[in-house]
Structures are given as C-alpha cells and as structure tokens.
C-alpha cells in the first residue's frame, strides 16, 4: 500500500484531569494508547502516519503534573508537564540548578520551549533519520540497522553503547539531570516507583524499542532534584549545526566540586554519543584530587572516549566528546 506523510490520521482524544485518570486510561488502552505532553515529538510521528495510536491521552489538563516546588530537604520537585521555558526562567532552578536552566534554555526555539515539557524532553524518542522515516529497522521491530551499514549516512549517530541500533538520545535536559543526580518518579495503576536519572535511560542492549524504563501504562510524573551542591561548579555545552531548532551533535553536562583548588568530586555526562546519555565515570574518578585545569580536563577527555568506535561518518564525535569533557572540567564555573 502506498505511503503518505504529513497528514495526521484520526484518533480518539482523551483529556484526563488527574494523574489517576491518566494512568487508568493508559492501562485501558495499553499499546494502542499514546501519551501526549507538549506534542513536539508526538506530532512528527502522527503527521508521518508511522505511529498510529487509536487513543491519545492528552496530559495538558492535568494540573498536578505542572509546577516547580521546593522540597523539605531543600531540593526541588518539578512536575513532568512543566514547560521548558518555565524551567529555564524559574528563580529556584536558576539559582540552585543553573545547569538544568541552561540545558532547558538551549532546547530548540522559544516557541518549542513554551510548548515543550520537561517530561517530554526526557522521554522523547531518538531522531535517527532512518527510524524516523519509518524504515523497518531493529528499533521499529525489524531486523536490520540501516544506519550502521558501510554506506549509511550516520554523522549524527553513536560512537559507543551501540547494540544493533546506533541511534543516539537527543535530550538536552537528560545529561543535566543525570549530572544533578535527579530522581524520576513514575506512576502507574500499580503505584509509584522512583528511578535515578542515570538508571531511567536504557540502551538497546536492554530493550531496543524503548529509550527509557517506561513501559506502556507508565507515566513520568515528576523529577526530584536533591539539595544543591553548595559551591559546586557546573558546565553545560551543546554543539549543534545551528543556534536554534537543532538537536545536539554532542552535549556535555558536569557538576564539579572543588575545594582548596582540587576536585573533590565530579559528575560528567555526555549525550549525543550513545543510545542513552553516557556518564563518564572513569573520567570522574580520574579527576578527583586534581586541579580543574587544562591538563586534568585533557586526561579526563582521553579517558572518556576510551573504547569509542566511529561509524563511517562520525569520527569527529570522538574528538568532540573528548574536547567537551575537557571543557566540562577546565571551564566549569
């Protein structure tokens, strides 16, 4: 049958007013249902008629999923439906977690940040253009990766963590949340579960058809940030082809605790290089006890790219990741 794009097929729309109703509807419709947050990822899929759910559960009216609140321990709780603009501009986020404010503020465009949500940015699907074009690849349930052949156009694909699929995670906020050691709270009809941000993202080795732990019926409801590291330095950088409306080629987020001129502790996370955000734990260990300078950064960068393997067109990502990790130590402020 012929293929046609750019025309959203009909679906049944549900607009629950609470989380309980939302998760009930999600369970009811199972894999024939679709959760709609800001719609930036969703409508691309719908327009291309590749994802064709029967029921769409629109979270736009669930007020309890919106807002930013200071928790008892001094941390922050952010509703998954809070807009990226609100996160980028919120005073508590800006003062306690500028890393997250920066990451959210670099997403796409002002219009997309107004409409896009933190939850949506976290759980969005990969932008591998073979997969997004509807090709029957592993991630789409097929038995091939079109992006990993010798002639594939894979400049934007991964240099590590590949397992059959070589797509990368496109989120800007994900590496920031992992660097901040955030927790993700997930609701379903069987109750609430909590994951560390690092564990929330999964690679194709665990499940090739998902980017996160969320299964049908699971709803990311809020993101919990621990009390800020006092006096910690941070760094976020997103390298992209143009300055607006673009996903990262590689991005880096770091939190660096420096005392007496020496790094006590660091969390370094790189995105755009693997199917899920990569925590550079070996580099983190290597920088402890060293000055946050060019030399330490260089060493951290070299360690972070160990084992990286380029595809046909993305060797540059190895150098870019190394340099960004270097900057995330050297230039953290």
């Amino acid at each position: 049958m012929a293929v046609i794009r750019d025309m959203i097929p009909p679906f049944e729309l549900f607009q629950p007013a609470g989380v309980d109703d939302a998760v009930r509807l999600m369970r009811e419709h199972g894999d024939k249902g679709w959760v709609l947050a800001g719609g930036l990822d969703t409508f691309d899929w719908f327009k291309d008629r590749i994802k064709r759910p029967e029921a769409v559960i629109d979270l736009g009216g669930v007020d309890e999923l919106k807002g930013i609140a200071v928790a008892d321990d001094g941390g922050l709780e952010i509703g998954a439906m809070t807009s990226l603009t609100d996160i980028a501009e919120n005073g508590d986020v800006r003062s306690g977690y500028p890393l997250l404010a920066d990451a959210a503020g670099l997403v796409a465009t002002p219009q997309i940040r107004n409409q896009g949500t933190l939850g949506g940015n976290i759980v969005q699907d990969t932008r591998c253009w073979y997969y997004r074009s509807g090709w029957p690849c592993y991630r789409a349930g097929g038995n091939i990766c079109y992006a990993a052949t010798p002639r594939s156009m894979n400049r934007e694909h991964c240099i590590m963590g590949a397992s059959r699929c070589v797509a990368v995670n496109p989120s800007d906020t994900a590496p920031a949340l992992i660097a901040l050691d955030a927790e993700m709270v997930v609701a379903s009809t069987s109750g609430e579960r909590t994951y560390t941000a690092e564990d929330f993202f999964i690679g194709p080795d665990i499940d090739i058809m998902r980017m996160t732990v969320l299964e049908p019926g699971d709803l990311l409801t809020r993101i919990v940030l621990p009390a800020p590291w006092s006096g910690a330095r941070w760094y976020f950088e997103k390298i992209r082809d143009r300055k607006a409306w673009d996903f990262s080629l590689v991005s880096v987020a770091s939190m660096v605790n420096v005392e007496g001129g020496m790094i006590q502790d660091a969390r370094i996370v790189v995105n755009g290089v693997a199917p899920c955000p990569v925590r550079a734990t070996a580099a983190e260990r290597a920088v402890r006890g060293r000055a946050p300078d060019d030399e330490t950064g260089q060493a951290a960068g070299e360690i972070a790219v160990r084992g990286a393997r380029a595809l046909r067109h993305n060797d540059y990502k190895i150098a870019l990741m190394r340099n960004l990790v270097k900057r995330s130590i050297r230039d953290a402020a």
Partner: protein
C-alpha cells in the same frame, strides 16, 4: 511640488496585510463545492509503474476522482517534466493524485492504492554515472541537451588518472575559451589549483507551492504561489491544455520563491486538470515534506579550478571544469557559472569546460544566482590563497582584477552598461574596517581563532523591452498596473515609483494594481534573473512619460494653447506659470473618457506586446490610459555586484564558527528604496551563509532517499546564526543606460555571503581551504584534529 519618492523609504501597500495576517495566500482561498487533493509519491528514486490498483480507494466514501499521468496535457517525456509520471525519476516524484471531500479521506485513499513498481537503476552522484557501466538517471541516457536525452561515459583511464583527490576530467560537451590558457599559465608567477564541491540545496520557501483551481464557463481560475503574475498565465495554460485567454491566474502574495516559483510550477496541472475532470474546485495543499521533493533545488557542482596570477596580482589564466548535478530534468547553472567568473576577475585567458549529468534527485531550477553563487563561493577562497602566496592584500587583489565600466562579460566579451565594482569594494573596506580587521586574522582568544574574509559576487541584474500601463481614473488617482508578481521583495511597489516621480505626483495618490490577471496587467518580465527593478522602472518610466504627453495634449485640446505649454505636477495638468489654468487628474480622466481614442485606450502604440494591448482593451473607457513599451537604450549586459565582508571566530575544540561581524556593499545603480535594498542584500547574504555553514541535502546513497525533508533536518540558517546588526551601504551611482539608473539586487548577495563565510573560515584556519560546502563543524574539527575526513573529497549530498 510632490517630493521625489525614488531613494526614500516607503511602506509597501501589502505590508499591513502581511503583518496582520489578512494577506491571503493560495491555500487561504475557498470556492463553492471545493474539495481536496492529495498526491501519491514515488517510494523509489527510479522505477517504472507496472500496475496501479485504485479499486479500494475508489470504493471509499468521499473519494471523487483519481488523476493519472496520461491524463495530463503536458506529459513527462525525456527531460520534459510532467506533474505526474509513470516512470518516477526521484524518490518523492508524484505518480497520481486523489480528490476527495476532505484531506483525511484523500490521504486514506492514497494509502489504499496499490502501486506495483519495477525498480530501475538510479544514480545520485554524476561522477558515478560518467563511469563506463555506471547507472543512468533515465532509461537510455544521463545527459540533457537541447531537449534530447544524451549519454556520456568517460573511459576508466580518466578516473584512474585523477585518483581520489582530484576531479576526473574527461570529454566535456560544453567548452569555450578566451585567449590562450597555456600562454596564460606560462605568464603566471603563482598558480593555485583545487578540486571543489558545491552542494545541491533545496529552496524551501516558507510558503509551499499549494494551489487551488476551478472552472467557470470554460475558463480556468487558478490560485497559486508564484514570483511572476502575467507571465504565469501562459505556463498554466500550457499545463491545462487551454489558451492563455482562458486562464485567470490569481496570486497576490508569495511566501518566498528564490527562483523556484518563477512562473507556473508543474504541480499546478494537478488541481487544474483534476477540477475539470470531476467538475469541482480542487485545492492541493503542498506540505513541507512534499515541498522538499517538488519544490526545486540548486544544482550542485563537483569542480576543479586552476588559476594563474602575475606577481602584480593580475589573473593571467583561469581554467575551470564543472560537473553539474542536474537532477532528473536538467539545469543550466554550470554555463552561467563560467560567465559570472569573468565578471569577477576579467581573466586575461580563460578556458571553461563543463558537463551536466542527470541524477535521480529532486528537480533543479534557478535558485538566487544560479551558477553564480556556486562559482563565487568556489573560486573566492582560491583567490585568497594566491593573494597569500603573492603577499598581496586580499581586498587589493580583487580590486586589481575587477571590471570597470569598460570591462567585459562572458565568452563573447560583450560590454557592461556600468560597473562600479572598485567603488563597492572600497566602500565595503571602509564600512567593515578591513584595514583594522585584517590585523585580527589568526588572533587567538582562548579556544577561539579570528578569521576575516570577503566575497565579491556579480550577477545579471536587468532586462529591457517590457511594457508599462498606467490609468488615471475619475477619482484622480494614478493606477499602476503591474504584470510583475509580488514575490516579497517590494519590487511591486518600488518599480511604480518612477511613474510617481515623472508625473510629480505624491505617493499616496498612487494605487498599485497587481496579483490577478483579470485585472488587465501589462506584458512583464518573468521575475527571475533580478530583472524586475531594472526592467520595470524603465517600463513605468516610459508609460509615465507617455502619460505626461497625453495630459498635455488633452489639456491643450480642452483649454487651448500648445501641449508643450502645459506642465504636470501634484495631480494637475496646468499652463506653465499659472497653476489655476488647468485641470485636475480627476477632470482629465473624465475628459479622456469623453474624448475616447488614444486618451482612453481606444488606440495604443503598435509596438506594445499583445498581452498589453489586450489589457488596454479591457480597460478602455475607464479613464486616461497610457501604455508604453520600454524602448530606452541598452548598451550591454546589466550586472550588479555585491561585496560582503565577514569576521568569524572558530572554536578549535569544537569546529563551531560564530560570525562576529558582517558588512555588505553593492553597485546596483540608483538606490530605489534604501530599507528594502538593505533587507534584500542582507537576506541574500544570510541565504548564502546558510548554504556554506550548514543547510544540507543528505541522501542515503544505497537507497537513493533524502533525509533532509523538514526544516529541522535541512537546517536553513536562523536569525541567531548571523549577527543581529549586519551593516550595509550602496555606491548609489546611476547606471547611465537607464532613465532611472536602477539595477536589480535579488541574486548577487547570495554568493557574496557564502564566499565571505568560507574565506573567513579558511582565514581562521591559517589559509587552509576545505573547498566544499556545506562546511560544517564536523569537517572543520576533523581537519583541525588531523582525523580522517568525514567524507571523500568529491562526495556529494552529505
């Protein structure tokens, strides 16, 4: 006295509607009983339709009809493109169209159609097709030439000789020379040589080419989005298989064309023919995805250049070889490219060789300086390279080689009407602060290195012989009938200004009539080749001069005295020295209607185009009517030059480039409208920078399928990618061969911006030119880090 409006800023008459959203574009129109059409696009880059089963679609409720390729008056054959085809030659080429009561139904019907295709060999890279045994874009050929399909293969030895790092150069079907190329090189003190790739890139205007059509009493009414208006009618008529008189084309606004919507788009045939077939108005809304396929693209080049310079900086020899990616139906960019190069450098000796090869990628058309932008961006970095070797300032070497008004153009070495190129370069050097800025070259600040560069870009900028048509109606206003379209450049208003000035009439008394061929529009230029400003300031000047003559004669007949004793100003015709002795324009219009004959369109000059004569006939009796052909002298090629200067910072750890400063200047003759001119120039410069910096058109080479079908994957530049305050100045020196002095500006800025960017990046890299566009961060970083290049030297569509 009315103030002279030429050279002042005005608000064009369409501005308010555009800003408030009241402007109606093609897809905003509705007609009684209107239905919608959707297209079925080819899923393969080259295939033959074996069988189409539409039975399931036809059974669906709300489906009204299906249109196949063989029902169209203009059918795909050889290098002629039809709107639909049974042998698709690129992925996304429309095969058929379905009409239904709504788009949802039409889309579902398309999905229900079964198309059996036989895959055919396809090719994306012209060099691959030039190899013996290599695939051809068409069955039986790989080359377009004079409407015929041709075939060209080069022996394996050509490729072996070139190796991987040099363009293979076999037999070239197109070749011309000036002087003796070998003698030129013998005379040279420095010779530079490079193989260079310039990408193909889609136009992606904001408004896709949606169109709506209906028929009334045998007449076709078509709403579309085009750059031209009067000249669109003929092409729509051909597509619908009717006479131009039976077509009413309506297109008041155009959301960008850049050369992709010069007159009719082939796809207009679909609603035109489908609406006749089903007896209902048909709207075909083209989506962004479809626009990527059918919306045209610039032809890419794989090129080679060898350039010789004497120690004094003069170019003694330019040897140029271009392999053009022509898409499935051909393009002529490569030929223009050779000509444009002469307008930059006036080489003492030159050889041009070129070959244009068909590929199974979406169709090409003119894109803002077709051939010109490419060649400027390809050659300017080489000029810099030679300047460095010769230790000559980069601005100086351009001034040394640029033409003046005694310069020459192209293989025929014909004259220019005027060329104030050195003035533009000097002005640009001052505006940018070249002397100070070049000291910053190579300066390092942290991880960032500064580079400065410039690009000089010529392009054709005028034509002659079009008609002007003016009416003074009984309301006393001057109606300027414009056959040109409103493509978003303000030329629709700016070219009317000479009429106001000649009649010494205040601008608020001028009404512009445009955008609908039933409104009696005169013969015009197609809006391409930056002809409009030049052609239609002349035509309206001619018509206004004729109008002055008619007013004088009419006043003399009515009030006595000789015509020459009357003056025209401020909406009156009156006796010299006595304003009271005369009549208003409103009175003149009424008198003209009474007198009839030549005063109100009853007689017209013989040399008018038939389209203008018909327009006058349609208006006859409605006021005082003046129509005239532009018979002003033309003494050479009309060219405009733009020089752009750029300062960039290159981050050596990421390959990212930030543009810190931009300044552009132009010799485009008399400035008609300063604000609009600056906007046109800066917009073109940004478009060129986009092509150089990151806009892309990527195909999977194995499957022949593009991925950059959306704005976010095609990545045209955004406002944050350029400085917020680019600077601009114009030489503002009249072209002596036109009464108004104005030349066009649409096209040359593109190459100037693109070249300034690639030259500035090369400067930041210590003079190293990567010789390809787009020049993305990954390529720059790989080079800086000494890592493997992400693409082969001659790879295209990356």
């Amino acid at each position: 006295m009315a103030e002279n409006v030429i050279g002042t800023d005005i608000s064009p008459p369409d501005l308010r509607a555009k800003i408030t959203g009241r402007a109606r574009y093609a897809e905003d129109f509705r007609a009684d009983g209107m239905v919608f059409a959707k297209l079925l696009l080819s899923p393969m880059p080259h295939a033959r339709v074996l069988n189409v089963d539409t039975s399931a679609a036809e059974r669906m409720e709300g489906v009204l009809g299906i249109l196949r390729a063989d029902e169209l008056p203009v059918q795909s054959e050889g290098t002629r493109e039809g709107a639909l085809t049974d042998e698709p030659k690129y992925e996304g080429e429309p095969i058929l169209a379905v009409a239904a009561v709504d788009e949802t139904t039409a889309a579902a019907a398309v999905e229900a159609i079964r198309v059996d295709l036989e895959p055919l060999p396809f090719v994306l890279d012209p060099l691959e097709s030039l190899r013996e045994g290599g695939p051809d874009a068409h069955v039986g050929g790989n080359m377009a030439g004079r409407g015929e399909l041709g075939s060209l293969k080069w022996p394996a030895s050509v490729f072996e000789e070139a190796g991987a790092d040099r363009l293979p150069m076999g037999e070239a079907p197109a070749e011309w020379a000036i002087g003796d190329i070998e003698a030129g090189f013998a005379e040279a003190d420095v010779v530079v040589e490079e193989s260079i790739v310039h990408q193909s890139v889609t136009h992606h205007p904001m408004e896709p080419r949606s169109c709506m059509a209906y028929w009334q009493n045998g007449k076709l009414f078509l709403h579309g989005s085009t750059q031209s208006t009067e000249r669109t009618r003929g092409s729509v008529a051909r597509m619908a298989g009717v006479e131009p008189d039976d077509v009413v084309f309506i297109g008041e606004y155009c959301g960008g064309g850049f050369g992709s919507k010069i007159s009719g788009s082939p796809i207009m045939a679909v609603p035109a023919v489908l609406s006749r077939k089903i007896g209902r108005p048909v709207m075909l809304r083209i989506t962004r995805y479809e626009e990527n396929y059918i919306g045209r693209a610039r032809a890419g080049f794989q090129g080679w250049a060898k350039i010789g310079f004497r120690a004094d900086g003069r170019m003694t020899a330019l040897d140029l070889y271009l392999v053009q990616d022509s898409g499935p139906y051909g393009a002529s960019d490569f030929f223009t490219a050779g000509t444009v190069a002469t307008a930059s450098y006036q080489p003492e000796n030159m050889r041009f060789r070129g070959v244009a090869i068909l590929t199974n990628t979406p169709p090409r058309s003119a894109q803002r300086a077709p051939g010109g932008a490419q060649i400027v961006a390809m050659l300017e970095p080489l000029v810099d390279k030679a300047a460095r070797e010769l230790d000559i300032d980069r601005l100086e070497i351009r001034k040394l080689n640029a033409p003046d008004s005694d310069g020459w153009l192209g293989p025929q070495q014909g004259p220019f009407t005027s060329a104030y190129v050195r003035e533009a370069l000097d002005l640009g050097g001052e505006l940018f602060g070249w002397e100070e800025k070049k000291q910053l070259s190579g300066q390092r600040n942290g991880t960032k290195v500064t580079g400065v560069g410039m690009g000089l870009s010529p392009f054709t900028a005028g034509s002659t012989g079009r008609d002007g048509l003016l009416v003074i109606r009984p309301d006393g206003k001057l109606y300027v009938h414009q056959g040109i379209g409103n493509l978003g450049t303000h030329s629709i208003a700016d070219t009317a200004r000479p009429a106001a000035d000649v009649l010494d009439l205040s601008w608020d008394q001028v009404v512009i009539v445009w955008g609908d061929t039933s409104k009696h529009l005169p013969f015009s230029t197609v809006q391409a080749g930056s002809q409009t400003t030049h052609a239609h300031t002349r035509a309206n000047h001619a018509a206004a001069t004729a109008m002055v003559g008619l007013l004088q004669e009419l006043a003399a007949r009515e009030l006595g005295g000789s015509p020459s004793s009357y003056r025209v100003a401020d909406g009156r015709v009156f006796r010299a020295g006595n304003r009271a002795a005369g009549m208003s324009f409103a009175e003149a219009a009424r008198v003209a209607m009474e007198m009839g004959g030549k005063f109100s369109g009853g007689e017209v000059p013989e040399d008018l185009n038939d389209a203008t004569k018909a327009a006058v006939a349609g208006l006859a009796g409605e006021g005082l009517i003046a129509a005239a052909r532009d018979n002003y002298e033309r003494a050479g090629a009309v060219y405009t030059w733009v020089a752009t200067f750029a300062q960039v910072e290159l981050d050596v750890e990421t390959g990212e480039v930030e543009i810190i400063d931009l300044a552009s200047t132009t010799d485009c003759g008399t400035v008609m409208h300063p604000r609009s001119l600056a906007a046109q120039t800066n917009g073109g410069v940004f478009q060129g920078i986009g092509m150089a910096k990151g806009q892309r058109w990527v195909f999977d080479p194995k499957w022949g399928i593009p991925f950059t079908k959306r704005f976010y994957t095609a990545r045209p530049p955004g406002i944050l990618d350029v400085p917020l305050s680019p600077r601009f100045a114009a030489v503002d020196k009249a072209d002596p061969y036109t009464p108004v002095g104005a030349k066009g500006i649409g096209e040359p800025p593109v190459g100037a911006g693109e070249a300034a960017y690639v030259c500035a990046v090369a400067d930041a890299m210590g003079g190293q030119c990567l010789c390809r566009t787009p020049l993305t961060a990954d390529m720059i970083l790989a080079e800086l880090e000494g890592r493997p290049r992400p693409y082969g030297l001659l790879d295209t569509h990356v």
